[in-house]
Amino acid sequence: MQFKIFTPTEYAVFINEGLHDYAAVVEGEVSEYRINQGKWIFFKIKDENSVLDCFSTTFQLKSPLEDGMKVRLYGIPKIYPKSGKFSLSVQWAEASGEGSLKRAFELMKAELEKEGIFSLSRKREIPKFPKRIGIIASKESAAYKDFLKVLSQRFGGMELYLYNVAVQGENSIIEIVEAFKYFNDSKDKLNLDMIILTRGGGSLEDLKSFNSKEVAYAVFSSSVPVVCGVGHEQDISLADYAADIRASTPSNAAELISQQRSDILMHMNNEVYKIESNLNRLVMSSNSDIERFTRLLDGFISGQINAFANLQSRLFNGLKNFEEILIMQRSRIDVFLRLLNSLNPREVLKRGYSIVKFNGRIILSIRNIKKKDTVNISLSDGDINAQVL
């Protein structure tokens, strides 16, 4: 029989090719867990009788492990050519059993906390009246149905985009991460106000994907604010911690993101009442303003009327005085006239006197006249010419 001759290197390669078929899930307890240079992970997995060396990288193993933790891991057996050492190249590992799951949860929580994934300072607010909401949930789950029921009881007019995912099981993490990617990619098209991630309650095993680093990262990195509502009051997943708003249950998520119709109606009635009563007050104060103006105007007008009446009576009195003065003046004129009349030379002529003029001049002395002169004699009722004898 002819054997194929290998070099050690060739044989290691040959063996490793064959070992590929023996890749398996192994469950056991972790021991001597250590990380080198922040990249390379070495540990052993053991039971009462056997120990296997394990090797992995921080890139592959997302969930932190520690000694004494019970884990399930998927490993490809391999012989390292340089040392000839046999070990399992671990592709993924997860805690198994409630105690280990709890421990894994705490470890992951501490790690993410340190990374700032849960930082309160980056929590965003959601609008009071959201219009478009992305929902990541299992279409058939009670959680989704509860959420929808409570939401539609409270408020309407929203567009709800459901991305149906498996919330537990093998594909759950990939589907949830994919859903976040879809909603973030279609952010501008869908114009989402927020994303709701919800599922019912369950054991740590059931909530595994909600406690995974991948989902926590997806929630954390979402550019659309995320509201997370998981299960019962006491169930808090890492996705909850990473979300902008943490609801205690799916129904609570619906309550936190929406307003109650009746509250809004009441508030609106109140606003309308406020507007009405203020308008009434405005009308009333305008009325009293008008009354005040009317009173003022009234006062002004009657003042004017009084002033006019006053002026009129002053004028009247003035006229009366003037008239009296006029009458008085007139009677004085009459007296003068009478006096003047009595002094009129013609009146004297009536009493028998006459005026003698020579050449138009009154003769006051006989020395101013001689015989034969023709004189003019004025009597009261006419003139005569006569000659001096």
Partner: protein, 66 residues
């Protein structure tokens, strides 16, 4: 109901009008105009929340998972 009725915006507008009335800085003329507008908005908002239901759109998955 208007097709693209923006509830949030209308609701905010109503609140602003109420605030303006409360501030007491409105003239009667402005007040009457705003009053009328407020009543119209309130009616629209009420009609909206009493009658409108939520619409559900299911996203078709793009990927094929194993």
């Amino acid at each position: 109901m208007k097709k693209n009725f923006n509830f949030a915006k209308s609701y905010e507008e109503l609140e602003i009008i109420a605030e303006e009335f409360e501030s007491g800085n409105l003239s009667l003329e402005e007040g009457l105009k705003k009053f009328e507008k407020g009543l119209i908005i309130a009616k629209e908002c009420k009609g909206y929340i009493e009658n409108i239901e939520n619409k559900i759109i299911e996203i078709k998955k793009r990927h094929n998972l194993k």
